[in-house]
């Protein structure tokens, strides 16, 4: 589903990725682990074409992600749900509107929005927060809202970049359980984190990165644990 072929990314002042090659199959749950600055975030940004690789190619199925322009890119991004460490909710919109906006963006009708939004809010246990603004909610609630927004349009892939970075252990556990449930329903999940505990509780394929390189991939059994 996702193919990184010899991808390198060099910023003007630092090297983020060095010759990275790996594949993610549909339905997989892949955790990418590494210290801050290991290149995890760069990797997720390359999939969304927020950044362009210095060398190599990134494919989403048959699409060369960095050859896409304007509308095509918008369409690709609609197939991917994003969850961020800092939630990236729309501060001027209520919980309901945040999710409704994501549905409006892909052209859903008002009826679909009215029936789906309460449903997904119930899924992440936020029904009582319907008309609250993000700044009125706790970190864990904001992240659950962000996940609800990410899955509302049934994306093929969820990318979660340090989703638990700002959360306490209880909320962290909850978020991981939600992501696992989403994966069980068939959505591919890529989870980037530096938290070993999270990786262990997921217990699926782990790609370990260091200084922009993949140093271990449990699927390839390059390195026994």
């Amino acid at each position: 589903m996702i193919y990184f072929n010899n991808v390198s990314k060099v910023y003007t002042d630092a090297t983020a990725l060095v010759d990275v090659t790996f594949t993610v199959e549909p339905g997989e749950f892949v955790s990418i682990v590494g210290h801050s600055g290991a290149g995890k975030t760069t990797l997720t940004k390359l999939i969304l074409s927020e950044e362009a690789p210095t060398e190599g190619t990134v494919f989403f199925e048959s699409l060369n992600v960095h050859k896409l322009r304007g509308d095509e890119l918008t369409k690709l991004r609609r197939r991917i749900g994003m969850v961020f460490q800092d939630f990236k909710l729309l501060p001027n919109k209520t919980a309901y509107e945040n999710i409704a906006f994501a549905m409006e963006a892909v052209g859903k009708t008002d009826e679909e929005i009215q029936s789906d939004v309460p449903h997904v809010l119930e899924l992440v246990d936020l029904t009582h927060r319907l008309s609250h603004f993000p700044h009125q909610m706790s970190g864990g609630e904001q992240q659950r809202l962000a996940i609800a927004r990410a899955i509302i349009n049934q994306p093929e892939l969820i990318i979660a970049d340090e989703p638990t970075g700002n959360l306490d252990p209880v909320n962290t556990h909850e978020i991981v359980q939600i992501l696992k449930r989403i994966n069980d329903l068939g959505t591919t999940v890529i989870l980037a984190t530096h938290n070993r505990g999270v990786i262990e509780s997921v217990d699926k394929r782990v790609i370990t990165m260091e200084k922009g390189k993949i140093i271990r991939d449990t699927k390839e059994n390059k390195h026994p644990k």
Partner: protein
């Protein structure tokens, strides 16, 4: 995305709703932008009124200028009337007034009714010393020269003989007319330049203010794009907000100028030569239309350009 008519309508509805909501939720920031647009529109209104005063004063001065042809006693009246009708056919001429020698005398007596020595001197003369004349008014001050040269050539042919003309006061007034002409052209040019400059400055300030309000939403724009919103879906609400700035600013400006012009009308009518309040009310709908159009277009275009900067990142 499906682009059926119903869907397009839904999208438009959503964009408008989001714009109105954003305006309400941005609170002080929105009102700051409205204030700046109001200042711009006030400048435009003040300039419209200033132009009216300028135009009125200039046309009053122009009205005071005319060319008079005085005829000798030997000139037959029908020849003069013939000249009058041929003058009236000139496109530059707005009005030709004939005053016969007797009429001129009557008017003179009327004007000087209380001026006993003058009337007495006139009576002493016995004869009518005042010549018959044609008063000519042109559309523009600059056209008097053409009319004078017409009189010199064709005019004399119509009249029959050059000796019938006693004098044409254009040649006496030429210097003043020429100067006035330059002055009017200068005043109009200056007025136009000042208008252009002030409007330009206001537009730049407004544009920058709106840019600042959108700068605050910079991150939001990025998030909307990540969620998969099209450019129009992101930009639309900002443009609606811009239009709202324009509409509210128009209403505030129109309202503010009511007491302002009322005061001007009551206290400055003599000085300005025109009652501002009457003028404002008489042209209310034109001014309303100009302001609304300027405000809304300014708001929408500023928002469009400002949002574009963050959309393309």
């Amino acid at each position: 995305m499906c682009y059926t008519k119903a869907m397009a309508l839904t999208i438009l509805k959503r964009i408008i709703r989001a714009g109105v909501l954003n305006f309400k939720r941005s609170g002080l920031v929105s009102w700051a932008a409205v204030l700046v647009v109001t200042i711009t529109l006030s400048v435009i209104t003040a300039l419209i009124l200033f132009q009216a005063v300028l135009h009125f004063s200039l046309s009053q001065i122009k009205d005071k200028v005319d060319v008079k042809i005085y005829f000798t006693d030997s000139a037959p009246e029908e020849n003069i009337l013939q000249l009058k009708s041929s003058l009236e056919q000139l496109p530059e001429v707005t009005e030709v007034a004939y005053t016969s020698a007797d009429e001129e005398l009557r008017l003179f007596r009327e004007r000087h009714a209380s001026d006993y020595p003058t009337i007495q001197a006139l009576d002493e003369l016995g004869d009518n010393p005042l010549p018959a004349n044609l008063g000519i008014r042109a559309r523009e001050v600059s056209q008097y020269e053409n009319i004078a040269s017409f009189l010199k050539t064709d005019g004399q042919a119509v009249l029959g003989s050059p000796t019938y003309i006693y004098k044409i006061n254009y040649y006496q007034n030429k210097l003043i007319i020429d100067r006035l002409n330059g002055l009017i052209a200068g005043a109009q040019k200056l007025g136009f330049l000042i208008t252009l400059l002030l409007v330009l400055i206001s537009i730049v300030i407004t544009f920058n203010t709106i840019r600042l309000t959108i700068f605050i939403s910079k991150e939001e724009i990025g998030v909307m794009r990540l969620v998969g919103a099209s450019k129009m879906h992101v930009r639309g609400p900002f443009m609606i907000e811009g239009a709202i700035y324009g509409i509210i600013a128009t209403l505030i400006t129109l309202f503010l100028f009511l007491p302002a012009t009322f005061w001007l009308g009551r206290n400055m009518t003599l000085f300005l030569g025109i009652n501002m309040y009457d003028y404002y009310l008489a042209n209310f709908f034109q001014i309303f239309a100009i302001l609304l159009l300027s405000g809304v277009v300014l708001g929408i275009i500023s928002s469009f350009l400002a949002a574009r900067k963050y959309l393309n990142k």
